[in-house]
């Protein structure tokens, strides 16, 4: 809310510069975001939190200044002389919905002269950014900014049959509001109507037909209380947000109605030569009961952690205009003023005391006991994975979980279910929860290529969102993108799996997802017969000049299977023997089948089979290929004799020949 420095000083004496005032307010919880000089005044932009509607008027802010620095509040005088004629002679008011309108008041001012308001009033309004219109409109704005209570002035002569009915709108009923826009109303909205039609949307905006104009002579002044939640709903449904609805939806002070109403008619008498009709229409459901809250000093001390004394606490409460009914021993019995609708519990009083005592006067000290914190397995594995990839030169990226609805974004790697859509997206580009991180990584590569960053290696750990029962399943994925070939990335994944201590069976099964992967160059990775993830060369359709590879792994599964328990295996003192072999097999024979064949020989001292080369060329018959690998032999208990190794070698070649029709390649 914008306030004028000079205007504020009319309600209390204090010697604070605008900057000092801003500092006091900020420390009391009313952040002053900006101070701007305007003419011979200053405009202070105050951020009022939604629980403090009492500070949406200058008097309310003055109360805060007084609480902080002391002093006395000067409320403007509202005594005035009236005509002898009674208000009931000019207007009849019925409140049909007392729940939504618990309090309605109306006063009548006759024979006003509508003209520009005086310069002192225009100046103050200008300072806080309100455009002066005419004396009557300016008075309603002035009083609202002063008291925080919205009021509305109708041209009384335009109210049909001198009747006001506060009622629900009829379906399809229309109103042209002050800014000239025609609005259709719905049945649950509260309106102020005359005998024929709605003349205002209660608490939100007045109607065009009954607004004050230059020819207006008689004024009906409404000052009321509307149910905050209802005003908020109406204003949201219509998309109309006004200074009035802003205040009503936060809750106005029921005790402030009389002051605002009297103040406004008095100003109309003074500034528009009006004559105030005697009396007021005042329809209220009940007297407002002021809340009474006992405060335990012991509790206050326990929550704040300081030895604050009772007299200090009660002094602060009094400065905040709370009434102390009684104080004995460790109790203060407090009555809350009507304008503090936010205070209804002991804890609320404690906050008030802390606030004015000064948060910064509460020392930082702790008696919290020592406690150990154990890293969860997820945390440990995640750290480990990050270190692994950083060590390999990968950069970690972070991309958005909300994506567009393009076919690429709708890949179904993890679930056949449809992706989750946002019901109220801001833009089409961000309207769906992603089901894979890979499209985002591809976009990150595109961004980098476009900015001249060649040859990238990136990874991301984040969730994908898979439709579930009530809430979706949020699966954490580890996704990789590398400017390298299939086997480089495959090797990295193999290495990661070993790094995490996972020695379960792994299988690589041909996989097809043309939106992501190049045909016949993608695999589904099985770990312990369950899907660990996917790996492949990026599809050429993605439109990049150079090829790269992608992989997405189930991080939750990796975490589950990771094993950091390490046991020492004695190192063999006997030297290993390596033998390199090259065999010629049919094109269809896969490495896995060769490897399986070799391990099936169960040679106890065969320690490893390491692939190193595939060769197709002149010396090899078409439809065949040469596969070269190295065998590692080592025994735990002896040095191997060359005959043993030779025999083993022949056994292996023999099995390869009988099972896969493999021939030893002669060099």
């Amino acid at each position: 809310m914008k306030i004028s420095y000079n205007w504020l000083k009319e309600y209390a004496y204090f010697y604070l510069s605008p900057e000092e005032l801003a500092d006091k307010l900020t420390n009391a919880g009313l952040v002053v975001a900006d101070i701007k000089p305007v003419e011979d005044d200053y405009c202070l932009e105050v951020e009022v939190t939604s629980n403090r509607p009492d500070c949406l008027g200058i008097i309310g802010i003055t109360r805060e200044v007084i609480a902080a620095v002391g002093g006395e509040l000067h409320i403007p005088d509202t005594d005035f002389e009236t005509l002898s004629a009674k208000v009931t002679k000019f207007i009849d008011v019925t409140v049909e919905d007392p729940v939504l309108c618990p309090h309605y008041t109306a006063r009548v001012v006759r024979h006003v002269t509508v003209r520009p308001s005086p310069e002192w009033m225009q100046k103050k309004l200008r300072c806080i950014g309100i455009r002066p219109v005419n004396n009557i409109v300016d008075i309603t704005n002035y009083v609202m900014m002063e008291t925080g209570q919205p009021i509305h002035a109708f041209d009384l002569d335009k109210i049909s049959d001198q009747k006001i009915v506060v009622r629900r709108a009829l379906d399809g009923e229309m109103i042209v509001v002050i800014n000239g826009v025609k609005r259709a109303l719905f049945h649950d909205m509260l309106v102020i109507a005359d005998s024929k039609r709605p003349v205002a949307i209660a608490g939100v905006m007045g109607g065009k037909e009954t607004e004050v104009s230059d020819s207006t002579r008689n004024i009906l002044l409404e000052c009321a209380l509307f149910e905050p939640g209802h005003v908020r709903r109406t204003s949201k449904e219509l998309g109309v947000f006004t200074d009035s609805s802003y205040r009503f939806e936060r809750g106005t002070d029921p005790g402030g109605i009389e002051l605002a109403s009297k103040r406004a008619v008095k100003l109309m008498k003074e500034l528009a030569d009006g004559e105030i009709v005697s009396g007021v229409i005042d329809i209220k459901q009940r007297e407002y009961e002021k809340k009474r809250i006992p405060l335990r000093i012991e509790r206050l001390q326990k929550i704040l952690g300081i030895e604050i004394k009772r007299d200090i606490a009660s002094d602060i409460l009094k400065r905040l205009q709370f009434t102390i009914v009684n104080e004995i021993d460790n109790f203060i019995d407090v009555v809350v003023p009507g304008f503090r609708g936010d205070i209804y519990r002991e804890i609320d009083l404690i906050e008030e005391i802390a606030r004015i005592y000064g948060y910064n006067n509460i020392p930082a000290k702790t008696s919290i006991c020592v406690r150990g914190s154990i890293k969860s397995k997820y945390e440990a594995v995640e750290d480990c994975i990050r270190q692994f990839f950083i060590g390999l030169g990968f950069y970690e990226v972070k991309t958005f979980s909300i994506v567009d609805v393009s076919p690429l974004q709708s890949v179904k790697l993890w679930s056949e279910q449809e992706a989750l859509d946002i019901a109220n997206p801001l833009r089409q580009e961000e309207s769906r929860m992603r089901t894979s991180l890979l499209p985002s990584l591809i976009n990150a590569r595109r961004y980098n290529v476009n900015h001249g960053n060649e040859s990238i290696k990136i990874f991301e750990i984040a969730r994908v969102y898979l439709a579930g029962n009530k809430l979706p399943h949020e699966k954490t994925c580890l996704s990789l993108l590398i400017d390298a070939d299939f086997f480089t990335l495959k090797g990295i994944i193999e290495s990661l799996v070993l790094y995490l201590g996972i020695s379960l069976k792994r299988e690589w099964i041909p996989f097809s997802e043309p939106k992501l992967f190049r045909d016949e160059r993608a695999a589904k990775i099985q770990l312990d017969d369950k899907t660990l993830g996917y790996l492949g060369e990026a599809s050429r359709e993605l439109g990049f000049k150079t090829s790269f590879c992608l992989s997405e792994l189930d991080m939750d599964f990796l975490v589950e299977k990771s094993n950091f328990e390490k046991r020492y295996h004695p190192l063999s003192p006997y030297p290993p023997v390596f033998r390199d072999l090259a065999i010629i097999v049919d094109e269809e024979v896969s490495w896995t089948s060769i490897e399986k064949c070799i391990t099936a020989t169960h040679i106890s001292f065969l320690k490893g089979v390491n692939f190193f080369d595939v060769y197709r060329g002149k010396q090899i018959t078409a439809g065949k290929k040469s596969v070269a690998f190295s065998l590692c032999f080592q025994a735990e208990d002896r040095t191997l004799k060359s005959e043993e190794v030779e025999t083993a070698e022949w056994t292996i070649l023999d099995v390869l020949h009988t099972t896969l029709d493999a021939e030893l390649r002669k060099l």
């Binding site: 929550i303 150990g372 909300i402 961004y447």
Partner: protein, 338 residues
């Protein structure tokens, strides 16, 4: 035949002694060990020999081959170590750049989250996570933010369905933890949150928060101040000053916003701190009794505090980053700076 091999060996040794350049040594290698080299020529002779001599000669050749290879490699090794200064008077320029291995980096936001986790882990806080697609109840009602309440204005939210939304704050995790666990509780919950804000230099529809919660008997506002003081001093530096301002959050009472002295201008005032000397870094407060009631805690017995911070915000402050969008563009030139 055997004499021939002996001679070859001798010749080679002599030639090697004469060799002074790396190029000459390479030539020598081709001459003796190449596919058309001297030793290979011997191999070709094997089939021409009487059968009984073949095996022995073969062994002889193999031994020669191994020896020759050793001699030549030694020479190459030695020369390549000496080559430049000795031969060409070239200077070994130690100031030439080293060959940098490729290194990766954690995303700056991860670095911040890790740093914060570490500070709080030392204070005994466990790390927990919660769902991002969340029931409305956990995002609002349980946190004392009723429907049709103006405080909801501060929490515009993406919805999936009627009562299912994308959490707009990590405070949801407080409730989920307290529902399952009795005090004492000491947790921090990092994670993504979502708000329908139009993207600009300071706003993003997705960002990260870290929520903290401590509940026990006898926890006070003074404890909150000290815990945050320790965090701020560790994370931002010993000389940084801290300021608590009263504020409003529906789920804490009393509520505070915490500022630190602006490190850019040391509190004198600059554009980063809007000339106030202070920058806001987190929100905090004592857990509101309404929140404890939602999880059936005894509000007389237990008290606690909660705090929440924006990961992007504190990362931007710490490193002087002026545009939040940089975090999600993933330009390697940006990522490599942290």
């Amino acid at each position: 035949m055997f004499k021939k091999t002996e001679k070859v060996k001798k010749d080679l040794q002599e030639e090697i002694r004469a060799v002074t350049t790396l190029t000459d040594a390479e030539q020598l290698k081709i001459k003796y060990l190449g596919r058309k080299g001297i030793i290979q020529d011997f191999m070709k002779l094997i089939p021409t020999l009487p059968a009984e001599q073949r095996a022995a000669f073969g062994q002889q050749i193999n031994a020669l081959k191994a020896e020759a290879a050793n001699f030549i490699e030694d020479a190459i090794g030695k020369l390549s170590r000496e080559a430049i200064p000795k031969v060409n008077n070239e200077i070994f320029d130690i100031t030439l750049p080293g060959k940098l291995p490729v290194t990766g980096k954690k995303h700056p936001l991860t670095q911040t989250i890790d740093d914060v986790k570490e500070v709080f882990a030392r204070l005994g806080f466990d790390v927990v996570y919660g769902p991002e697609v969340e029931l409305e109840y956990y995002n609002f009602e349980a946190l004392n933010i009723p429907a049709d309440h103006p405080s909801r204005t501060d929490f515009d939210t993406f919805y999936i369905k009627n009562d299912i939304l994308l959490r707009s704050q990590t405070s949801t995790v407080q409730i989920r933890v307290m529902e399952k666990q009795k005090p004492p509780i000491r947790i921090i919950a990092p994670g993504k949150v979502y708000r329908p804000d139009t993207v600009d230099a300071r706003h993003s529809f997705m960002f990260h928060q870290i929520e903290g919660l401590l509940v026990d008997e006898g926890v006070s506002f003074a404890d909150l101040k000290e815990v945050l003081n320790q965090f701020i001093k560790t994370y931002f530096g010993k000389d940084v000053r801290m300021r608590f301002r009263p504020s409003f959050f529906p789920f804490t009472e009393p509520s505070a916003e915490v500022d630190i002295s602006c490190s850019l201008c040391s509190g004198k005032g600059c554009s980063v701190c809007s000339y106030s000397g202070w920058v806001e870094i987190l929100g905090a407060g004592m857990v509101d009794p309404h929140v404890f009631k939602a999880v059936h805690y005894d509000t007389e017995k237990y008290t606690g505090f909660a705090f929440g911070m924006g990961v992007e915000r504190i990362t931007m402050l710490k490193h002087g980053i002026s545009d939040i969008r940089l975090f999600y563009e993933n330009d390697i030139r940006f990522l490599s700076q942290f």
